[in-house]
Symmetry: C2
Subunit: 488 residues, 2 copies
Amino acid sequence: MLQSFNARTGEVFGNDVLVTSSSELETAIQKAHHAYADWQSSDGETRAKLLNALADAIEGDRENLVKLADTETGLGLPRLNGELDRTAFQLRRFATLAKNGGAFVFTDDPAVAGGPPVGHPPMMRVRVPLGPVAMFSASNFPFAFSVLGGDTASALAAGCTVVVKAHSGHLHTSARVYDVASKAIQAQGMDEGLLQMVQGAGNQVGVALIQHPLIAAGAFTGSTRGGAALRDAARARPRPIPFYGELGSVNPVIATPAALKKGGDALVQTLAGSITLGCGQFCTNPGLLVLQRSDESTNFVLALVEALKPLKPHAMLTKAMRSALDQGTAAQIEAGAKPLLYTPVDEVCPNPYLAEVDAKTFISQSQLHEEVFGPATLIVWTDSVAQTLEVLNTVGGTLTVTFWGAEEESADVQKLVRGATAIAGRVLFAGVPTGVAVTAAQQHGGPWPSSTEPMTTSVGDAALDRFLRPVSLQDTPEWLKNREGRPC
Amino acid sequence: MLQSFNARTGEVFGNDVLVTSSSELETAIQKAHHAYADWQSSDGETRAKLLNALADAIEGDRENLVKLADTETGLGLPRLNGELDRTAFQLRRFATLAKNGGAFVFTDDPAVAGGPPVGHPPMMRVRVPLGPVAMFSASNFPFAFSVLGGDTASALAAGCTVVVKAHSGHLHTSARVYDVASKAIQAQGMDEGLLQMVQGAGNQVGVALIQHPLIAAGAFTGSTRGGAALRDAARARPRPIPFYGELGSVNPVIATPAALKKGGDALVQTLAGSITLGCGQFCTNPGLLVLQRSDESTNFVLALVEALKPLKPHAMLTKAMRSALDQGTAAQIEAGAKPLLYTPVDEVCPNPYLAEVDAKTFISQSQLHEEVFGPATLIVWTDSVAQTLEVLNTVGGTLTVTFWGAEEESADVQKLVRGATAIAGRVLFAGVPTGVAVTAAQQHGGPWPSSTEPMTTSVGDAALDRFLRPVSLQDTPEWLKNREGRPC
């Protein structure tokens, strides 16, 4: 039996929710498998129709959904309304992509006369959907990375069907989104198996889902530990399948002294806002500030402390996440970080945390490389560009690196850009890493530990590619050629 | 100490070769790491210059190389001359790709005004090379999947440097190719670290190579067992890295009775030739012939037996591979296959092997799903299209499926095309799977167990993509924007 909680009060909220039984799980997967038989060969118009209907459906129930989500997550109405907007936007964007043939892009490679290696038969390189996909919702985005989130939207657009495991942090929101989605699917006269939902706490339902022989891929947003466990389960199958895990990230911000001076108080306020936004519960939260020792850097940090002091983040999503934050900050201090702003409270709402450490200690203490999820940032002091590069190399993998002060080309700037691109999925040269645009050029996924498949993205148009496998067709018959990239 | 053998006589050939020591391995990797610092930001012209020089170099030493390879592999001069042609062709094709900017393709995504989710800052999605790559040569292609093979060519074109582990089946050929390559690199005034070579038997050198912290990816062509071991080593690193393994495959051929009748004796001869070509030592060797019971099918099989009888394959590459073939065929018979052509000989050259089994037995006996490397094919008899689909589903993953008889669209043909594309990287509608064109639309890689990364290909232009990771640049400074896709 699962329980939902009011994020602000910690009290039990609403009715208990049943854990999906083995036989219910089997039924859900069989339905998704059955629906896949036709959906895999659906055209772009049909896919767009479904995705647009799903966007309309959540917008149509906005008031109820946002209210429910606010109770279960404490994220507040403005944020949740914005997130619902984003979720509808994503669904419609993948609808447009599908309609415009994004899933059916192919390489036509006509025959070349003569023997090998120059000559070859006529070939087409098309893409086929993978099959029914297992989707694992995130705690921190009850709409945008959940039942009808970007993973679901991109998988449906690719021609896959979806079995989504709801996150236990927002059970009733998930159930209502699923109910609204199911009705929209039914109203379109489409197969209910296109989208199925299961519920469970811990790993049991999730592992059974990802290891089911009819499941062809997995997509996950959440912690490195949780993602690694499901990735390992996906790999332990007799037939391993792709598993796209978007995991933890420390998102270093590096800045030249000149950039800090130029940015002034506006930059201080922007960074303080990014650290505390949504109580720091973003995978792109700036957890590391790498500064070269200088007066400008010292002044910036003093101002940052002052800017953070009055900020009062809201409650965290769950009690477990709150205690993980407290443990994480304490562990940093234990490992040698010196707190600049550290006022642990027993209250529901945590205070912002800021600490500092020298680069050598940072590099040598693996505890300091771990993401601390919440409004917590560690400042790392370096003596040189070379040492900043060492720090980046120690981080190894991250969703983002932000680099303030790269306006002019120089040997040092070049090196830092290389160091940043070597470890990140996205490199920003202005602004803050929170806020991930849903657009053509987005890359949300970097080297381990920030994701399990760094060649892919979980946000933006290219998210579609995760669910389409290339297949060459050789000497393709005319009828099949005429399907223009829809090979089945 | 490693020894080379004459593939035809089994006698020791040439001098002993030293196993690369730990310190030599470290030096090789450090050199590749050092060379990467500049190579990652080289332009297309420079990469093309190197790759073209390498193609010229092996062609310039053709006579010696082919003679050496013939002694060590027994593959014969015509095949080896053809393979050297292919290897040079591959190098030049990736040179052209690099010159034309294939590694620097990027998505330009200008700013959209307004707030999220619609508005966003200016973004570019570029690709960065991964770093120094570990390359593992194949036994069966001493040139095309070896020191200067497609993996090396595509990695260099992508801006990576390469440390290749030579295959122990052709030590002297590898050493000579490497020597020729090193001289060509030197003659261009380029860094010797662009390409390094190590030697070793068993897994020790290979595991040390793939687990070295400076190695950023691995590429492998060979057995499922060997590939799985290296893949696991790559994943067991503190920082896991991509590992592209092109492994074993049974390459089912399915055919309608009408297609067999229409194809007549020409089709019989073509298939017999494909089964025995190169002594069956191709990853695309047709190991499974799935036929629906019919008079046409029976006649085809009778004719195939007669066509195979007089064919005398040459010696296998190594004694170990020869005994694996004998064990594999014996295991099939043990598991219920009935031999149609089975004359085990103690001689160096194996005879072609053909056996048959009913679909039910095939499906239930996992031993029958394993690739038998060599001139060996198993016929599976099915009673219906549904049963043929079950057989394909049992195979699960394969580099190719060949489907004779798909000229006209029908519900059954549709189902079989879907069944074929669901498990294969390439689906052929004419001809035989041996012979893999190096071209834009090639896909050489399918679901497990045929490869570790089925979304990628090890042959053809898209092989380049394996070594380039997408990175988004946000609010990119002008100077960096002007590098047009070369972000570092």
